[in-house]
């Protein structure tokens, strides 16, 4: 049984054309699945539907074969490209970091988050520093089984990128999580993924079924 399974998903924004229909996708335990495709095709919307930000119009997302519970921390967490848009600018870093529970101390250390960041405001951290906070926040609830990284490191320099990915991959493997990595960066996907998907195939396969 797949860790996360989406079957027959369809989504559109109020009254507009379908962004995708009959889309099926699964992520197994310990897998790193790469997803690439043209801009504006609906990859980010799919990520939001999988992570429970939006409800699918048709179809269902299941975890370990069961529907995702409505309450509590969502087991599918999403990290976005722009961390400054994913945090409350009027909260201090400590509150943002603890939003989903207390993160693992070893993870905090591996991400290079230091005590003196915690008292600052989001605008006082660089993009790379703030992204570390968002990653720690996403991984902190014990219920998290799948992490979706939507262009998570596209704004970051190569050294920050490789450092963050090494930490995330090690942590995900340790916890037997599944990862879905959405990116335009072919080289990055080739480097870190255990399986690759192209958006067009995903949609075409789904239609054929």
């Amino acid at each position: 049984m797949a860790l996360m399974e989406a079957a027959g998903l369809g989504f559109c924004y109020g009254g507009q054309d379908w962004l995708f229909r009959e889309l099926s996708l699964s992520v197994e335990e310990g897998e790193v699945v790469g997803l690439s495709g043209p801009s504006g095709s609906g990859k980010s919307t799919l990520a939001k539907v999988l992570a429970g930000y939006d409800k699918p119009i048709v179809g269902e997302v299941k975890l370990d074969g069961l529907p995702i519970p409505e309450r509590g921390a969502h087991p599918v967490q999403l990290v976005l490209q722009h961390p400054e848009r994913a945090v409350n600018p009027r909260w201090r870093i400590r509150r943002i970091l603890m939003e989903g529970g207390t993160p693992d101390a070893a993870l905090i250390e591996a991400l290079g988050i230091t005590e003196d960041w915690l008292g600052r405001w989001p605008s006082e951290l660089s993009g790379g520093e703030l992204q570390r906070i968002c990653i720690a926040r996403a991984l902190s609830p014990a219920a998290v089984k799948v992490l979706i990284a939507d262009e998570m490191t596209a704004m970051l320099d190569a050294i920050t990128q490789s450092g963050l990915w090494r930490t995330v991959l090690r942590y995900a493997e340790h916890r037997r999580m599944g990862l879905l990595v959405i990116s335009h960066d072919e080289q990055l996907l080739r480097r870190i993924c255990t399986r690759r998907l192209k958006w067009d195939e995903l949609v075409r396969c789904a239609r054929a079924q």
Binding site: S39, S126, G127, G163, H184, Q187
Partner: protein, 305 residues
């Protein structure tokens, strides 16, 4: 054409009531860009690269303290010269489509205040040069793709008669094809005789169009190198940070480097990279290395040969 010498920028900040302290963000930056040259400034977020663009354009906030000299065409680029050149000879290509007027068709937008048939013809020829179809002139910004929007922004600079263009992070989040197109438009400008300063965190993209690359770390230029020197394992590069940046690319080993970039204030009297450097020697913690010429480029390192 553009020469930056010993540029330092700091921000005055009030800490706990009325105590004021200066937070340095750029330290002793030396750079020059010739006509027809495209210089890429690469560095991580927080290295001060956007502030460099703002310093040149005179767009720093009120509490910024600026030292050093920026000159353009041999003249000091001060407030009065900036007022004459900015938006005309000197142009900033901003990050994206949100800087276009959403209610104005692209062709009209690129025209600016120019009118008449001759001006329209100029728009057509510039659009063609940057690979924009005739239909693009009639499109509204929301109909343009990210790549097209950037090309319209570059065209606007070209039509305004820009001789020097600064582009600040023109490509993030774009698919590779559009990003390549937007950068190619900048290359075209340089080939037409413009000086271009391209500011980006994406070294791979920058290398496709740049003549030279300046690497920024913790507010300092640590190396300037020819674009072609970023190749293979990076062994001809001069600074260990440039090499680490190159080797961290997914295609080049994806190597990690422990530690984080310090703030310029923490490393005022030592090499800013010493704490993370694989080849650091004793002198590196004892004094700040100057930017010195080395093998046709420049490096800020005590050890590099």
């Amino acid at each position: 054409m553009l020469e930056i010498a010993g540029l330092s920028v700091s921000f005055g900040q009030y800490v706990g009531g009325f105590r004021r302290r200066d937070i340095p963000v750029l330290n002793d930056v030396d750079l020059d860009v010739d006509a027809g040259e495209l210089l890429a400034v690469v560095g991580s977020s927080g290295s001060g690269k956007s502030l460099l663009a703002h310093a040149v354009m005179g767009l720093l906030p009120e509490n910024a303290v600026v030292r050093g000299r920026i000159s353009y065409g041999g003249r000091t680029l001060d407030e009065s010269l900036l007022r004459k050149l900015r938006g005309r000879e000197l142009a900033l290509v901003p990050q994206g489509v949100s800087y276009l007027d959403p209610l104005l068709r692209a062709g009209k937008q690129a025209l600016g205040r120019q009118r008449g048939l001759a001006a329209k013809k100029r728009v057509r020829s510039v659009f063609r040069r940057f690979g924009l179809a005739e239909q693009a002139e009639e499109m509204y910004p929301h109909q343009l793709s990210g790549g097209m929007a950037r090309k319209v922004l570059v065209s606007t600079a070209a039509l305004g008669g820009a001789r020097f263009v600064i582009a600040d992070e023109p490509t993030p989040g774009m698919e590779p094809e559009s990003a390549a197109e937007a950068l190619q438009a900048l290359r075209e400008l340089a080939d037409g005789g413009c000086g271009v300063l391209l500011i980006t965190h994406d070294i791979e993209a920058a290398l496709k169009v740049a003549d030279r690359v300046a690497v920024l770390y913790a507010g300092e230029v640590v190396e300037t190198a020819a674009a072609g020197e970023f190749e293979g394992t990076g062994k001809v590069l001069r600074h260990p940070y440039s090499r680490a940046l190159w080797q961290a690319l997914p295609a080049n080993g994806f190597r990690a480097l422990p530690g984080v970039q310090p703030s310029p204030a923490e490393t005022a009297s030592c090499c800013s990279f010493a704490a993370r450097c694989p080849i650091a020697a004793q002198e590196c913690a004892a004094g700040k290395p100057p930017l010195r010429k080395l093998r046709g480029g420049a490096v800020r390192c005590w050890v590099a040969e």
